[in-house]
């Protein structure tokens, strides 16, 4: 079984508004799966269906080979985007309560909590009330609550919002550690640089439909334009430009370098990189030769604006 979560043609309507229009996804086991999409695309609707907060109008969800059912709540850890805790309840009691709801016994919950509190260095917070903590501190507690019952599938909706860089790094490392321990992570966000950094699979939802899904490298390959960024030191720029424009499409490029070289972005079309290199080496000294790989941000904007 390589797929932990399978979403099959899920449709969800709110009155006349279609929030999900037959969306299908397959989340591979052990992956960090980025669920991308602009605001109002239907991400939260889908996440709520996976969490059994709402039911799909049609379609089905398969979790680890079984049709999604109430007992599965203990296999899923969910950190919603709109998050909060009981303001007047003590941190420790609150965590125990939420852990027990996920099916842990009180003793197990306590053991796990002690482990996590120590790990995140927040032992002193047990008897504090949430209203005495800062927003970032409360977020840490929520993260603990979300992972406490060792879920197989973790769903994070915008996990880094509200964290300062130090804490964001801590949480990021924890997410990676959880994946090492075998958990699968679904990760919904607008922050493309964190997708780039963490995700190995992505899916893009736009206007209630899935546009793209796959391994991040495959998606990038699919979106690459066979362009190369080139830096070259040449005495005869005119001759160089003449040679290149004969065969390829050229545009000025912008990248950081220490030399004062000519910077170009060259589209190869169907040609191979070696053909370009041949032309270049005849005319000067190549200082920079990199395939231009589309960023997730580029893919996102390109797909959404199509």
């Amino acid at each position: 079984m390589n797929t932990i979560l399978e979403v099959n043609k899920v449709v969800k309507q709110y009155g006349d508004y279609v929030a999900l229009n037959g969306v299908s996804l397959a989340v591979p086991k052990g992956s960090i799966y980025g669920l991308l999409g602009p605001n109002g695309a239907g991400k939260t609707s889908l996440i709520r269906i996976i969490n059994q907060i709402t039911l799909p109008d049609s379609g089905q969800i398969i979790l680890d080979g079984e049709k999604l059912q109430p007992k599965h709540v203990q296999y899923i850890g969910y950190l919603p985007e709109e998050r909060g805790l009981y303001n007047t309840m003590k941190v420790g009691e609150q965590c125990l309560y939420l852990a027990q709801m996920k099916g842990l016994t009180k003793a197990e919950a306590k053991k796990q909590l002690e482990y996590w509190f120590e790990r995140l260095e927040i032992q002193g917070w047990w008897n504090k009330k949430i209203q005495e903590l800062s927003k970032g501190m409360a977020q840490k507690i929520q993260f603990v609550v979300c992972v406490l019952h060792k879920p197989k599938l973790l769903i994070f909706d915008e996990p880094f919002s509200g964290f300062d860089p130090v804490n964001a790094t801590i949480i990021k490392d924890e997410i990676l550690a959880l994946r090492e321990e075998g958990a699968t992570i679904i990760f919904s966000t607008h922050r493309m640089e964190s997708v780039e950094e963490l995700c190995d699979h992505i899916a893009l939802i736009h206007k209630s439909n899935k546009l793209i899904e796959g391994k991040l490298s495959d998606v990038k390959r699919q979106f690459k334009t066979n362009s190369y960024e080139v830096g070259i030191l040449s005495d005869n720029v005119e001759g160089l430009m003449y040679d290149i424009t004969q065969k390829f499409t050229v545009a000025p490029a912008n990248f950081k370098s220490l030399n004062n070289e000519l910077k170009l972005e060259i589209q190869l079309g169907t040609a191979l990189p070696n053909e370009l290199l041949q032309v270049l080496t005849q005319r000067g000294q190549v200082t920079h030769f990199v395939e231009k790989i589309p960023t997730v941000n580029d893919i996102f904007i390109q797909a959404v604006s199509k």
Binding site: G15, I53, V73, Y78, P80, G84, L85, T88, Q100, M101
Partner: protein, 438 residues
């Protein structure tokens, strides 16, 4: 531990630990007692004696009034028939007298019926005017009797006094005033249910709003069904409420006990009276008291208590599901007012129906109808039960109540399920209707 009992436990503990709960629990009996004592103290304070001037030109009535003057009475009648009427009117304006009763001289006694005036700058109380009218009418009747040359003594003797003793077909005797006791008992229970619904229904609503505004609700309902959360909340709050009532009852009982001890010492001197006298007085007292106590025991106590429990549960659950649904639909408490009105109305209505209709005609059409309608039945039926209600009526009423309760819970759960995830705007009635269809 099952999830719903987990929720009940949390709700209960959260309520009970709340500072305002603790303060309310222990302060309100004190407030209540303090208020009662204050009212009691006010009522023992003597009102100033009001002086009423009487200018009786006929000379017939002034004596009748001065004869009823009591030492510390509220009114003191002064016969000022010899003083000029205009002067007396002026002194009313100066507030030397509360009022002036002016009785003119008339040709025939028939004319008295509408010629007597009471002049005052303050409007007199109805009981005062009735009292004055009675005194004058009595005197006139007597005078008329004398004029008709009838023997007043013989007439007084001939007057018959009838007391109808009440009894049931089964032959048990009843005492008068029992209706008041019955409505008192039913009313107390009905009122208790109403107070409980309003106080703790509101608590349920606040608790739902709190979860919604703190945004924790999404985490919770990713673990439990909204229906479980709602029911757990309602039950947990009810348990906290019952605890509060229980504590109040305990405090009340111990205060009563303390009071009886305190007054027991206070009335010590009475015990120095001769034992025979005390015994006689006691016997007389216990005679009536025993009758009442016997009657109390004859009330359908079992039905009242069982009815109370059933209607309490049904009524509380019915209304608190409404409260929970409202809490889920709105974002903050100020927005809830619009939706609360339709809930408060039937509650108020049932108390009014209970106190105005049931007491007059416990088995009349209005009383019966309102004891069937689920929104009013918990209170109205409870007030009717002490008067004896046929079992089939109770059966219908309870069936209707619980049938409605289950469908309301179903509707409320739907609104609740959608509402808790809707932030930012106050829904309209039309939107709530739409949510039901999602």
């Amino acid at each position: 531990m099952s999830i719903i009992s987990l929720i009940i436990k949390r709700e209960f503990i959260a309520k009970v630990r709340n500072k305002s709960f603790i303060v309310m629990t222990f302060l309100s009996p004190l407030l209540f007692v303090g208020l009662a004592a204050f009212v009691g103290y006010l009522s023992t304070m003597k009102a100033d004696t009001k002086r009423i001037a009487i200018h009786d030109e006929s000379g017939l009535f002034a004596q009748e009034f001065t004869a009823i003057n009591q030492k510390n009475g509220e009114y003191k009648y002064l016969d000022l028939s010899l003083i000029d009427l205009k002067f007396l009117k002026d002194s009313i304006t100066n507030e030397s007298y509360e009022g002036l009763l002016y009785i003119p001289k008339v040709e025939s006694s028939k004319d008295f019926e509408n010629k007597i005036q009471f002049i005052s700058n303050n409007s007199p109380s109805i009981s005062f005017i009735e009292n004055v009218q009675e005194v004058i009418a009595d005197k006139l009747t007597k005078t008329n009797l004398v004029q008709a040359q009838l023997d007043t003594l013989a007439i007084t003797k001939a007057k018959a006094n009838v007391t109808i003793s009440l009894s049931k077909a089964s032959g048990e005797e009843s005492v008068k005033g029992l209706n008041e006791i019955k409505i008192g008992i039913g009313g107390a229970f009905g009122y208790l249910i109403m107070m409980f619904i309003i106080i703790y229904g509101n608590m349920v609503m606040r608790s739902v709003i709190e979860e919604k505004t703190s945004r924790i609700v999404e985490i919770i309902i990713s673990s439990v069904k909204p229906f479980q959360l709602m029911m757990g909340k309602i039950i947990g709050t009810a348990l906290a409420g019952l605890l509060q009532f229980f504590i109040w009852a305990l405090i009340g009982l111990s205060l009563m006990f303390a009071a009886s001890l305190f007054f027991g010492v206070d009335v010590g001197p009475t015990a120095k009276l001769s034992p025979e006298l005390v015994q006689a007085a006691q016997q007389e007292m216990t005679g009536t008291a025993q009758m009442y106590i016997k009657e109390l025991w004859n009330l359908p106590i079992a039905s009242i208590l069982i009815g109370f429990v059933i209607y309490f549960i049904g009524g509380y659950f019915l209304y608190s599901s409404f409260y929970a649904a409202i809490g889920a639909a709105v974002d903050n408490q100020t927005d809830s007012q619009q939706f609360l009105l339709p809930i408060i109305m039937p509650l108020m209505l049932s108390v009014y129906v209970g106190f105005f209709t049931v007491i007059n005609d416990p088995h009349g059409t209005i009383a019966v109808v309102f004891s069937m309608i689920p929104l009013t039945s918990p209170i109205v039926m409870l007030m009717r039960i002490p008067f004896g209600v046929p079992l089939w009526q109770i059966a219908i009423s309870v069936t209707l109540l619980f049938g409605t309760f289950f469908s309301v819970v179903w509707f409320a759960a739907k609104i609740y399920r959608i509402g808790i995830l809707m932030y930012g705007k106050k829904p309209t009635w039309a939107e709530l209707y739409k949510w039901l269809k999602y």
